[in-house]
């Protein structure tokens, strides 16, 4: 897929809570946004932030084709994401996109579970929409600290059933995603996951034990985002692979996680 360096214009800045902002972007001259796939990401340049020298990788959260809009869900963790979250309607942001691979296509009829934790729910929305369009009925399992951190629920609900766990029990079941009863009660053929590494490892261990196909989307530190610097590598059965190019999505069988 062809990659672009683009200035995109903010069309909306929606504060979801103290730690999360949803930014919507469109093109400057009404050209159609480049085609993007679920799991892919953008390398976003953060201007006006002396301590943010490198671009920041941010997943495609959603593509609203009808409005020609790209959504990015931003968790405010440091200076870069904070600066980005200050962008207002009309501001432009420079991005390199679309980057990385995508999730594999499920086989017809498969029951699919999408597990997202924290900001790792971001790519799950786009993936869920895409699966829905292809005729699947994805189930979403979203994990968060507490109810206020469960984001974009109504958007998820448009694309499938939504299950929730929170660490404090303030929404859905109490505990971690891997403790949700659905994992005991129901059968899935395929799991896609994105979230904090310990969560993904637990999900992978569950999938492996049950013999379920499982793909995880990794978030290694990146410099270039395009496979040129070899900084973002993950150790795999095939050696060091670039998360930015051969990933971010990997079948867990390929990874060397201790599961």
């Amino acid at each position: 897929m062809k990659k672009y360096v683009l200035d995109l214009k903010v069309t909306a800045n929606i504060k979801l809570n103290d730690n999360y902002v949803l930014l919507k972007f469109t093109t400057l001259n009404d050209e159609v946004l480049p085609e993007m796939l679920p799991g892919q990401f953008a390398e976003v340049r953060i201007d006006g932030s002396p301590n943010t020298f490198l671009r920041r990788p941010i997943s495609v959260n959603y593509i609203d084709k009808s409005k020609n809009e790209l959504w990015l869900l931003i968790q405010l963790v440091g200076v870069g994401t904070r600066k980005l979250s200050e962008k207002r309607e009309g501001n432009t942001v420079n991005m390199v996109l679309p980057l990385g691979n995508t999730f594999s296509n499920p086989n017809p009829g498969e029951k699919i579970l999408l597990i997202g934790g924290g900001v790792g729910t971001a790519p799950m929305l786009f993936l869920g929409q895409s699966l829905r369009e292809k005729g699947f009925e994805p189930v979403f399992l979203l994990g968060a600290r507490s109810s206020k951190d469960v984001l974009q629920v109504s958007d998820f609900q448009k694309n499938g059933e939504v299950l929730i766990t929170t660490e404090d029990g303030s929404a859905g079941e109490k505990g971690y995603v891997t403790q949700h009863s659905v994992l005991i009660d129901r059968h899935f053929d395929r799991i896609y996951t994105c979230g904090p590494k310990p969560m993904m490892i637990a999900v992978a261990a569950y999938a492996k034990a049950k013999g379920i196909v499982c793909e995880a989307s990794l978030e290694n530190m990146m410099a270039c985002g395009i496979g040129a610097c070899l900084c973002c590598v993950e150790d795999t059965q095939e050696g060091h692979l670039c998360v930015c190019k051969e990933g971010p999505v990997f079948n867990i069988e390929k990874l060397k996680w201790q599961i």
Binding site: P50, I226, A228, L230, C232
Partner: protein, 303 residues
């Protein structure tokens, strides 16, 4: 439109803008963003005799106006390069150079010899300055004796343009430059990365798996510029300048300091189109200043 051509030890380039090894992949990664044939030269990833997996993750830390890397020369080895990669890139209409590294002198020589056989590779850049590998690498570039020994061995088997990339982690870079010049190097390129370190005060651990790594980016530019200027006065062979070049103005500063060509490294990560922008920027500068050729500004610093 000024004449941008420069000559590095017999290798003619359309313009003085090259890409720095390890920051531009094999060029292919940037083909979506720029027309590769607009560049003076592309120096591909550090290549070694044998396959190397490089260092464990994490390999990167962001620093004020720069970054540390500890990639450690991950590459599939020279034979893989010759068989798989060379055929893919040999038709790119620019100078395709290979950056050669080794952990002993023989490795350097054998690797260089294998690349000498590739028709469309007009030059190699000997990396005697990689701070991210346990044996060899930077060790060769920090003493005149070992630097000279590597160059001597490679010069015997490699007759095309031989560029030697110098380490800035030395007391006097001009000494090393002179010693490789004496062994027949056609050009020196500088600087490679400066040895640095980053610590995460929260976890109390080094950020890089290797503890230390190589510093690059605009933070090192003042040091690079100084070393290029000193080296240009010390040797007769052409000098290729790099280190922190982020735009055409930076590139012009290196040319004024005496560099015949320049390389762009880390800046490719910030703007994948920066190389061609720098070519355009140099051209505009020359036009604006009524220069017919880039040679009019090379070494043109008024002191």
């Amino acid at each position: 439109m000024a004449d941008l051509r420069v000559n590095i030890g017999g290798m003619v380039m359309k313009n003085p803008v090259m890409t720095a090894s390890g920051t531009f992949g094999y060029g292919e990664e940037f083909a979506d963003f720029i027309d590769l044939s607009c560049l003076g030269g592309i120096i591909v990833k550090g290549t070694t005799l044998r396959h190397r997996e490089g260092n464990p993750y994490p390999r990167m830390a962001e620093t004020p106006s720069g970054m540390l890397n500890a990639v450690g020369l991950q590459n599939k080895g020279v034979d893989y390069f010759v068989k798989e990669i060379y055929p893919r890139i040999k038709e790119v209409d620019t100078n395709m150079l290979v950056n050669v590294s080794g952990s002993c002198i023989d490795d350097y020589a054998i690797t260089a010899e294998k690349i000498a056989a590739l028709e469309k590779i007009p030059a190699i850049e000997l990396n005697i300055s990689c701070p991210n590998v346990k044996e060899g690498g930077m060790a060769f570039g920090t003493s005149c004796k070992s630097a000279a020994a590597v160059v001597k061995a490679v010069r015997k088997v490699y007759t095309k343009t031989l560029i030697v990339k110098l380490s800035p982690n030395v007391t006097d870079i001009t000494e090393i430059a002179r010693s490789v010049e004496a062994e027949g190097a056609d050009s020196v390129s500088l600087i490679n990365t400066l040895l640095g370190m980053a610590i995460d005060s929260r976890t109390r651990r080094p950020i890089l798996s290797t503890i230390t790594g190589g510093l690059s980016g605009p933070c090192v530019k003042p040091i690079a510029l100084r070393m290029v200027w000193q080296t240009c006065k010390a040797v007769k062979i052409p000098v290729i300048g790099l280190g922190g070049i982020m735009n055409a103005t930076d590139a012009i500063e290196f040319l004024l300091a005496g560099a015949t060509a320049i390389q762009i490294g880390t800046a490719n990560f910030i703007d994948p189109q920066i190389t061609t922008k720098v070519v355009d920027g140099i051209n505009e500068y020359l036009d604006r200043n009524g220069c017919k050729s880039v040679s009019e500004i090379i070494g043109g610093l008024v002191v």
